[in-house]
């Protein structure tokens, strides 16, 4: 591995200063970065470990929602009972990113900042209405997750900026969420298609009042399927509704051919997966008390 210096500041201001002055790379779980440093895909003179910064380790649920620090590991997320209750899609995601060794280290913030088109967490974060807090030397700005990635491995971060946390509104009433991906293996693979969805139902549990669907691995970046969301509002919870939503989703994607799947296959899988994910999200939502 090429040489680099290493710092592990315990304050956000200290980290920002280091990142800005030296073009250092932030290190959270390192499951992407350390591999990229080894292969030379990433070259840097300074690695800044951000795991000692309190703001990046926050994990807090209150009436307003969830504050998830960017450096919180997937394993920690999976062990949180309140996240399981309110944001099960996060558990769905964090329990399938890599194997258990990767989940011990990898963070959702890191997954987002790596900005892979097939990142598992991003469609779920989009579905959950996540908003990133991005801090740099000139202050903090808030960016909805669906506006964060700009292309494969690209995002809106300026040099010296750091995602500190992602905030999610609290699902209220009959509202729940789900994430699923299609992979050719049982586990330890990269999504061919990934779908996250949040659904809110009326008190009867029969009609949809709000919906957010995030799609991944089927375009240059994960995105919010707004036409699917608009279609779902006011519809009843039926198989036909979710089938039609899947067909609409098919029309929104621009997948590529690769060794994991062809364009044709991804189109087909997207419609099936959207239907499945919505069905499960609705089931979870209907089981919730109003």
């Amino acid at each position: 591995m090429r040489e680099f210096e290493f710092e592990s500041p315990d304050s956000l201001a200290g980290a920002i200063q280091l990142l800005e002055s030296s073009k250092g790379k932030p290190l959270a779980g390192g499951t992407d970065l350390i591999d990229h440093l080894r292969t030379g895909r990433v070259v840097t003179d300074l690695v800044v470990d951000i795991k000692k910064i309190p703001e990046l380790n926050v994990l807090e649920i209150n009436d307003e929602g969830l504050r998830l620090g960017a450096a919180v590991s997937c394993r920690k997320i999976c062990a949180n009972a309140e996240i399981k209750q309110h944001y099960p899609a996060l558990i769905d995601v964090c329990s399938i990113i890599g194997g258990i060794q990767i989940q011990s280290r990898a963070s959702v913030g890191g997954n987002l900042c790596n900005s892979g088109a097939a990142a598992d967490s991003t469609p779920a974060l989009i579905a959950l209405g996540g908003v990133c807090s991005v801090t740099g030397s000139s202050g903090t700005r808030e960016i909805p997750v669906e506006e964060f990635c700009t292309g494969p491995s690209q995002n809106v971060l300026e040099p010296g900026e750091l995602v500190t946390e992602i905030k999610f509104p609290l699902p209220v009433g009959k509202s729940s969420n789900h994430y699923q991906r299609f992979i050719p293996r049982y586990e330890m693979d990269i999504a061919v298609v990934g779908v996250g969805a949040s659904l809110t139902l009326d008190d009867s549990g029969e009609n949809i009042t709000a919906a957010r669907v995030g799609l991944g691995a089927v375009a240059a970046k994960p995105f919010l399927a707004e036409k699917v969301n608009e279609f779902l509002i006011g519809k009843s919870v039926t198989e036909a509704t979710f089938s039609e939503a899947g067909e609409i989703a098919k029309g929104l994607i621009s997948p590529i051919d690769d060794h994991r799947g062809t364009v044709e296959f991804r189109l087909q899988v997207t419609s099936v997966l959207v239907k499945r994910v919505l069905t499960e999200a609705a089931k979870r939502a209907s089981e919730k008390a109003t």
Binding site: E3, F6, T31, D35, V47, S73, G98, Q101
Partner: protein, 164 residues
């Protein structure tokens, strides 16, 4: 050359200080600086799980951890599993169920299994397969490993569900 750092880590219960460069992984330091070669290098990119150790109790691939990150941490490796009284029930279960052939993946499997049984003392076959998905074995075909983990769970429950 980048400045060498002094890192102090508790390895298998004993405090150890070592000098290392920031670019050295925990795996490299364990094997080359501390002469603890029980932890194996496989793919070196986090896919195979051969280099699994417990870092503050959590299973991690030590090839994807910088040694400098471990200052103040607790690391447990395969060398710390057996006690002065001999092999643990977990290790005996692997031996007696023939859950290994070439043995390169075994230290990683033992460490992951140790973490699994601590978290879930009586896992189902599916839970075992899912938890151990990050450990690859090219010899056994996995079935014997699953048998060994189920056997280890039984043996440990026989001793009051104790993992140690």
């Amino acid at each position: 050359m980048a400045k060498q750092r002094v890192v102090t880590t508790k390895v298998n219960g004993t405090e150890k200080s070592f000098l290392c460069e920031p670019r050295q992984t925990l795996l490299e330091v364990l094997r080359n600086n501390l002469d603890m070669t029980g932890t194996k290098e496989g793919c070196s990119n986090g896919n195979c799980g051969a280099c699994t150790v417990l870092l503050n109790g959590d299973p991690v691939t030590s090839c994807l951890v910088l040694a400098v990150e471990c200052d103040g941490a607790e690391v447990e490796t395969i060398e710390g599993v057996a006690t002065k009284d001999g092999l643990t029930p977990l290790q005996n279960a692997f031996l007696e169920n023939a859950a290994l052939q070439c043995g390169i993946c075994t230290p990683g499997f033992i460490m992951s299994t140790k973490a699994l049984l601590k978290q879930n003392p009586d896992p189902s076959e599916e839970e075992i397969r899912f938890f151990l998905a990050g450990n690859l074995c090219r010899c056994t075909g996995y079935d014997k490993i699953i048998d060994a983990v189920q056997d280890a769970a039984k043996r440990q429950c026989g001793t009051g569900c104790c993992n140690d």
